[in-house]
C-alpha cells in the first residue's frame, strides 16, 4: 500500500479523496477530537478565559459597574502595603498547616481504629463520613450555634466540668476564633483522610505483619516499618488534595466569622471576596485572589505530575 502510493502519487490522491466520511470519522484522532471538542470548548470558555481575564483584572483599577483602567502592578503594590493582606496570608498558611497536620494524624488514628474486626463496621464507616458529605455551610451553621456567645452548648459542658463561667469566647477572641475554624475544618475533613487511609490499610498484606511479628517486631515497629511506608503514596495524595482545598477555603470562614473578629481569621479567599464583592473593587480583589496562585500552582503541578505517574 505504502509502496504503491509512493510510486503513483496521483492515483493515491484520487483514492484518498474517495475515502468515505465514515472512515475518516472512525480514525482515532478524528473521533477523539470531535468527541472532546464540546467539553474542551466549554472549559476554555468558563475556566480558561476567566483565568486569564482574572490576571488582566488584577492589573486594572476596576470599580464594579465601571470600565477598568490599566494600572500595571499598582494593585499588588497596594496589597504589599496592606497589613490585612499580610494577616490574611499568614492566617491562610497557619490554617492550612495546622488543620492538615491534625487531619493527617487524626485520620491515621481513625483508620487504624477502624482497621479491626468488629460488628456493624459498614454502618460505623457510613456514619463517620457524614461530616464530610453534608453541605459545609449547613454543618457550619450548627457549629456557629454550638459556639454561640450566650448559649454555647460547648461552654455549658465545659462549665459543668469546672471551667470558670462563662467559658471561652470562641468566636470573639482573635486566637480562639482561629482555633475554632481550624477545629471545624478538621472535624469536616478528618473522615476523608480516615476512610481513604483505611482503604489503603486494607490492601496491606497480613503476611507482612505476621512475618514481622515472628521476627520479633513490636506494634510500633510494625507500624513504623510496614504500615507507614506502604501508606506513603496514599498519604501524599490525600494530603496534597486536602491542602489545595484548605488553602483556598471560603465557606467555613465566611459563615463562622466573616474573617473577624477584626480580620483575625481573614483568609486569602474571604479577603478577596470582601474587597471585590463588599467594596466593589474587582481589580484589587482579583489581585488578592491571584496572590494564592504561586503556592497553589506549585501544589497543583506537584499533584498533577504525581497523579500522572500512576
Amino acid at each position: 500500500m505504502t509502496i504503491a502510493s509512493e510510486r503513483l502519487p496521483v492515483l493515491a490522491q484520487a483514492a484518498r479523496r474517495r475515502v468515505p466520511l465514515s472512515v475518516v470519522l472512525d480514525r482515532q484522532s478524528v473521533f477523539s477530537w470531535l468527541m472532546m471538542a464540546l467539553p474542551l470548548a466549554f472549559l476554555a470558555a468558563l475556566v480558561g478565559y476567566p483565568f486569564f481575564y482574572g490576571i488582566l483584572l488584577s492589573l486594572e483599577d476596576r470599580p464594579v459597574a465601571h470600565t477598568g483602567t490599566f494600572v500595571g502592578l499598582k494593585n499588588f503594590v497596594t496589597d504589599a502595603h496592606d497589613p490585612i493582606f499580610w494577616r490574611a496570608a499568614i492566617n491562610t498558611f497557619v490554617y492550612t498547616g495546622v488543620a492538615t497536620l491534625l487531619k493527617m494524624v487524626g485520620g491515621l488514628g481513625l483508620a487504624l481504629a477502624m482497621n479491626q474486626h468488629f460488628r456493624m463496621k459498614n454502618l460505623v464507616r457510613a456514619l463517620l463520613l457524614l461530616p464530610f458529605i453534608v453541605p459545609t455551610v449547613l454543618s457550619t451553621v450548627a457549629w456557629l450555634w454550638m459556639l454561640d456567645p450566650a448559649f454555647s452548648v460547648v461552654n455549658r459542658l465545659l462549665v459543668t466540668l469546672g471551667w470558670p463561667k462563662p467559658g471561652p469566647s470562641w468566636l470573639g477572641d482573635p486566637t480562639l476564633a482561629m482555633v475554632s475554624i481550624i477545629i471545624i475544618n478538621t472535624w469536616r475533613g478528618l473522615p476523608f483522610y480516615g476512610i481513604t487511609l483505611l482503604a489503603g490499610l486494607q490492601t496491606v498484606p497480613a503476611e507482612l505483619y505476621e512475618a514481622a511479628s515472628i521476627d520479633g517486631a513490636g506494634g510500633w515497629a510494625r507500624f513504623r516499618f510496614i504500615t507507614l511506608p506502604l501508606l506513603r503514596p496514599i498519604i501524599l495524595i490525600v494530603t496534597l488534595f486536602s491542602v489545595i482545598f484548605t488553602f483556598a477555603d471560603f465557606q467555613l470562614v465566611y459563615v463562622l466569622t466573616h474573617g473577624g473578629p477584626a480580620n483575625a481569621t481573614q483568609l486569602f479567599a474571604t479577603y478577596a471576596f470582601d474587597i471585590a464583592m463588599g467594596a466593589g473593587q474587582l481589580g484589587l480583589g482579583a489581585s488578592v485572589a491571584l496572590a494564592m496562585l504561586p503556592a497553589l500552582a506549585l501544589l497543583i503541578v506537584a499533584l498533577t505530575i504525581y497523579l500522572r505517574r500512576e
Binding site: 482515532q28 484522532s29 473521533f31 477523539s32 477530537w33 472532546m36 467539553p39 468558563l46 475556566v47 476567566p50 483565568f51 481575564y53 482574572g54 481513625l110 481504629a113 477502624m114 479491626q116 468488629f118 460505623v124 456514619l127 463520613l129 457524614l130 453534608v134 453541605p135 459545609t136 455551610v137 449547613l138 454543618s139 451553621v141 450548627a142 457549629w143 450555634w145 454561640d148 452548648v153 455549658r156 472535624w187 473522615p191 476512610i195 482503604a199 489503603g200 490492601t203 503514596p233 496514599i234 495524595i237 489545595i244 488553602f247 471560603f250 465557606q251 459563615v255 479567599a269 478577596a272 471576596f273 482579583a286 485572589a289 491571584l290 494564592m292 496562585l293 499533584l303 500522572r308 500512576e310
Partner: protein, 281 residues
C-alpha cells in the same frame, strides 16, 4: 482462644477509639436535630439541661416552611444539582472515553490539563466569573449556576470516569469493531452500558458537590426566589443580630437530608469513588 477477659479487652480496643470518633463526628448533627424540635422557652433558658428535649415541638419546621422560601430554595437546589450533574456526566464522558481508549497525539497533555483544572479552586476564578456572568446578563438566574458548577464538575467526572473506563475490558469493543460497528456505535451501544457503576459514583459525587456549592451561588443569586438552600439559609434565616436558631437548625437539617439519603443508598459506590484515585497509586 478468646477468653472472656480477652473479649472485653478487644471490645475496649475497638469501641473506645471508634466511639470517640463517632461521638465527635455526630454530635453537631444531634445538636442540630435537637435544637430544631425545642421550643424557644427551652432554647434560650440557661437553667434547663440542654442535651435532651423536654417538650418537643414542630413549630420551627412549620415556621420555616410557611414564613421563608425554604421549599422554593430546595426546589432550586435540586433542579440545579440534577441538571448540572447531567451536563457534567455527559461532557465528562465525552472527555474520558477518547482519553481512556484512543491513541492520539496530545492525549497526555489533555489528561494533565483536566487534572490541573480539577484542582483549580473556585476562589481563584470567582471574581472574573462574576463579571462574565454579569456581562451575559445571567445574574439572578439559575442558568448562572447551572453553567458554572460544571466548570468544577466536568473535570472531576472526567477524571473519575477515566479511571473507571480503564478498568473495563476491551474485548467486547474489539469484537464490535470487527463486526463493523463504528467507533460511535461501539461506544454508545457496547461500552457505555457496561459503565453504570462508574456513572453512579461520579453522579453521586457531582450531585453532592452541587448541593454543597456556596461561593458561586452566593455571588450570582441575590434574589430570594432563585436562591439555593445554603445561600438562602445563610442570607435570610440569619437576620441581623437576632438568630432564629430553631428555624436555622430545622433548615440545616432538612437541607442535609437529600444528600444524606442519596449517600445512604449508594454508600459503597461513594467510598469506592472516594478511594479510587488514591488506592491505585
Amino acid at each position: 482462644m478468646v477468653t472472656g477477659q480477652g473479649r472485653i479487652r478487644q471490645a475496649v480496643r475497638v469501641w473506645l477509639p471508634v466511639g470517640f470518633f463517632l461521638v465527635v463526628a455526630l454530635f453537631p448533627f444531634y445538636w442540630m436535630a435537637i435544637t430544631s424540635i425545642k421550643p424557644n422557652a427551652e432554647l434560650y433558658n440557661r437553667n434547663v439541661m440542654p442535651l435532651i428535649v423536654h417538650a418537643p415541638t414542630l413549630k420551627h419546621y412549620v415556621d420555616l416552611l410557611t414564613q421563608s422560601s425554604f421549599l422554593l430554595w430546595t426546589w432550586n437546589t435540586m433542579l440545579v444539582a440534577v441538571v448540572a450533574t447531567a451536563i457534567s456526566l455527559i461532557l465528562g464522558t465525552m472527555l474520558a472515553y477518547p482519553l481512556a481508549r484512543m491513541r492520539f497525539a496530545g492525549a497526555s497533555l489533555i489528561t494533565m490539563t483536566i487534572a490541573a483544572i480539577y484542582l483549580v479552586p473556585q476562589p481563584l476564578l470567582f471574581i472574573p466569573l462574576a463579571d462574565v456572568i454579569n456581562r451575559l446578563n445571567l445574574g439572578n438566574t439559575l442558568t448562572s449556576v447551572i453553567l458554572t458548577y460544571p466548570t468544577m464538575l466536568v473535570p472531576f467526572c472526567a477524571w473519575l470516569l477515566l479511571g473507571y473506563f480503564k478498568t473495563v475490558p476491551k474485548e467486547l469493543e474489539e469484537a464490535a469493531r470487527i463486526d463493523g460497528a463504528s467507533r460511535l456505535q461501539t461506544m454508545w451501544t457496547i461500552f457505555l452500558p457496561l459503565c453504570t457503576p462508574g456513572f453512579i459514583s461520579a453522579g453521586i459525587f457531582a450531585f453532592t458537590l452541587s448541593q454543597n456549592e456556596f461561593l458561586y451561588a452566593l455571588i450570582f443569586l441575590t434574589k430570594s426566589s432563585v436562591r439555593t438552600v445554603p445561600v438562602g439559609v445563610i442570607a435570610e434565616l440569619i437576620r441581623g443580630d437576632v438568630f432564629y436558631w430553631g428555624q436555622l437548625m430545622a433548615g440545616a437539617l432538612l437541607g442535609s437530608i437529600p444528600v444524606a439519603l442519596i449517600y445512604s443508598f449508594f454508600v459503597e459506590h461513594y467510598v469506592a469513588g472516594l478511594t479510587a484515585g488514591s488506592v491505585k497509586a
